[in-house]
């Protein structure tokens, strides 16, 4: 019996309604709020945002994080994924251990690294016991911006590489073994096999992983907040400060819209740059 034409629409209607109510409506409200200058529409909130003393630093820090963290994570996840592929025993256990950080919330991850890196933390204690430092050394304040930056990078890599890994592992498993065997017959080196077979066939997974991770990296907040507080301004952090401490919802909304615009732009760039053959998307 043929299904009525409207059935698929009926089935997706609840989720569409849900998204409209809890995503599109607040989104519209936020955009409106960001253009609300008190008397009619204006760019006052955006002017305030761009003119704020933390804005250039927040923008620079956020982009610096994305530029350093994302390639690191993709490279690490690729290496880890290929290692898993070669393993015959204990693969599940290793994968399980590597994905533990996925179950930890952002803030908790930040706090874990804070416990390690702060003055009285584990790292300081260890260095002190080995006689490498003479007393508590601070790494996470405004006088040590580079150390603070690397602490945030470390925490982010630890926390969020697993999601890239999972997407890539799934992609690697989809690559037919025959290609590799054929390459072996022709005497291809492992590097050539990786370049000519694995990487091209992994492109759809890489694209998904990159989009997901980049969007999330632009929204990074809790880890930075835990480790650096105000010492490391980032875009979402500024949105939080304007909303919570400065109590100016308009400027906070402008920041939120900015984050969304950057995320959308990043997605478009990835979709264009890593254009995937429609056949490979199946």
């Amino acid at each position: 019996m043929p299904q009525p034409r409207w059935l698929p629409y009926l089935l997706i209607a609840p989720s569409v309604a849900f998204l409209a109510a809890f995503f599109l409506v607040p989104l519209g409200q936020t955009i409106l709020l960001s253009f609300d200058g008190g008397q009619g529409l204006s760019l006052a909130n955006y002017a305030r945002m761009v003119g704020d003393l933390n804005f250039p630093t927040a923008l620079r820090n956020t982009f610096a994080l994305v530029i350093v963290v994302i390639p690191l994570q993709v490279a690490l996840a690729l290496v880890m994924g290929l290692m898993l592929q070669k393993m015959t025993r204990g693969r599940e256990l290793v994968l399980w251990i590597w994905t533990i950080p996925l179950g930890v919330s952002d803030l908790a991850a930040g706090l874990v690294w804070l416990a390690i890196l702060q003055d009285s933390g584990y790292l300081n204690t260890l260095l002190f016991q080995f006689g490498l430092i003479s007393g508590p050394t601070a790494y996470l304040n405004s006088e040590t911006p580079i150390a603070l930056f690397f602490a945030v990078v470390l925490a982010e890599v630890w926390r969020a590489t697993a999601i890239v890994l999972i997407i890539l592992v799934a992609g690697i498993q989809l690559i037919p073994k025959e290609f590799g065997e054929a390459a072996d017959i022709f005497g291809a080196s492992p590097w050539t096999k990786f370049r000519k077979i694995t990487l091209p066939l992994l492109k759809p997974s890489l694209q998904s992983a990159l989009i997901l991770r980049t969007v999330l990296a632009f929204e990074v907040f809790a880890v930075v907040y835990a480790l650096g507080g105000r010492n490391f301004p980032i875009i979402v952090g500024e949105a939080y400060t304007w909303q919570n401490e400065n109590q100016n919802y308009g400027v906070a909304a402008a920041y939120a819209v900015l984050v969304m615009a950057i995320s959308l732009a990043a997605t478009v760039i990835y979709l264009k740059a890593l254009r995937v053959d429609p056949e490979a998307q199946a």
């Binding site: 003393l53 105000r230 109590q247």
Partner: protein, 427 residues
């Protein structure tokens, strides 16, 4: 699996049983932004509200407090009758007509000895009483006794100047290699209050009007020198009691409620002294928490009764003993105070009684712009002290922001600035 299911069902039933009476009985709901930590909230429920009409005491973070009050009003359904919050948190509610005038409650309390100035503050610039002062506190310097040997010659620890504090910090740094002065300049710290309530008025005798004066320039230059001896982690500190207890900081400025744990844990280790003085005097900021009744409160009469209960001398003294906020009424503290609380009480007395004291009140009349007012001061600090921008240029440009803010809100001057007609001017 069955056990889990049974547990879940049991938990749900228990929850339903616990929730049911709360939903049925018309208890008075008392929402507070103060005394939020679990142990303090428990003390409110078990000690301070003992003998008061039946009250459900709930707490909320200040930003959510404002959001909740607005939402209830917009929905036209009040659940909250009584609120307890800081002066600055109640203030934005006055123009939105969220507060009920309580002149009747004020009249009943007229004999309790609440200072007229505090009562006036409770009118929030209107002609009627918007809140009743509930309890008060202030900001002090807490000194660990290890720091005393390094005190510069001729300096009186109870009457320090900013220059002496800088010299003290430097002496400690030179001798121990550590920077031991601390300020709560972290995201949840109250550092903006230090700048606007202590530092700037100590040099200018003003919080707003003289913001960019030559005297302010001197104050900022002195403070920049002082900051060189401040612990580099200061930008991460929210409450000073932790670094004090850890010995990471020896001299800390903070709100008394945020150092109380250190003092009650080891009272023998500390002194509590007034904040330093600048060229104009020793500015300090009294903090007032108030009790207000919501407009259209479901239980107005009961709320008024709870206010009267909380302002009884016995309750006020218990408040000081249990949570370290001090009476607003005329109630002498007993001699057998716990040692930590006694330190705080003495510290407040010394601060209020200092010969050169200048009272800098919490900002009034800024509506919901209180956060942005704080930002002006914190940004000034960030630019001058942390980023090393030239003092004069920063003061000029931040004064511009402050002026816009004052004009927007049309807030008249408050102490220590002289009363103004219309918006408080920034000269």
């Amino acid at each position: 699996m069955t056990t889990l299911n049974q547990l879940a069902i049991a938990a749900m039933t228990a929850g339903a049983i616990l929730a049911a009476p709360a939903a049925k009985a018309q208890d008075l709901v008392f929402l507070s932004t103060q005394l939020r930590p679990i142990d303090e909230a428990q003390k409110v429920r078990e000690v301070l509200l003992k003998g008061a009409p039946k009250t459900t005491y709930v707490v909320e973070e200040p930003p959510q407090f404002a959001v909740r009050m607005k939402a209830e009003q917009a929905a036209g359904k009040r659940t909250i009758s009584l609120m307890g919050a800081l002066h600055g948190e109640l203030q934005p509610l006055a123009p939105t007509a969220s507060l009920d005038a309580i002149d009747d409650v004020a009249a009943k309390l007229s004999a309790s000895g609440i200072p007229a100035g505090l009562m006036e503050l409770g009118k929030l610039g209107t002609s009627t009483q918007q809140y009743i002062p509930w309890m008060q506190a202030t900001y002090v310097l807490v000194v660990r006794k290890e720091a005393l040997p390094f005190l510069p010659a001729g300096a009186d620890v109870n009457a320090l100047t900013y220059e002496q504090l800088a010299a003290w910090g430097k002496a400690i740094q030179d001798k121990t290699g550590q920077r031991r002065i601390g300020f709560p300049a972290g995201p949840k710290g109250l550092f903006a209050r230090f700048i606007q309530g202590n530092l700037v008025p100590s040099y200018t005798g003003s919080m707003v009007t003289e913001f960019r004066s030559a005297a302010a320039e001197k104050g900022w230059t002195d403070f920049k020198a002082l900051w060189a001896t401040v612990n580099p982690n200061a930008n991460n500190y929210n409450f000073m009691q932790e670094p004090l207890m850890a010995g990471e900081v020896w001299i800390a400025w903070d709100h008394i409620a945020r150092v109380k744990d250190a003092l009650t844990a080891e009272p023998d280790k500390y002194l509590v002294v007034p904040p330093p003085a600048g060229s104009q005097g020793r500015a300090y900021m009294p903090v007032v928490a108030g009790l207000a009744i919501a407009k259209d409160a479901p239980n107005r009469a009961q709320a008024a009764a709870v206010i009267e209960h909380l302002l009884k001398p016995a309750t006020q003294i218990a408040t000081a003993m249990e949570v370290g906020f001090f009476p607003v009424i005329n109630a002498p503290l007993p001699a057998d105070l716990p040692a930590g609380v006694k330190l705080l009480a003495d510290g407040i007395a010394k601060t209020q009684g200092a010969k050169d004291a200048i009272v800098a009140l919490l900002p009034v009349g800024l509506g919901d712009k209180g956060g942005e007012f704080n930002k002006v001061y914190f940004d000034t600090f960030q630019r001058i002290v942390l980023r090393g921008e030239p003092v004069r240029a920063v003061l000029d440009s931040q004064a511009e922001t402050l002026r816009t803010l004052m004009t927007q809100t049309a807030a008249p001057c408050w102490a220590p600035d002289k009363p103004s007609q219309g918006a408080c001017p920034v000269t």
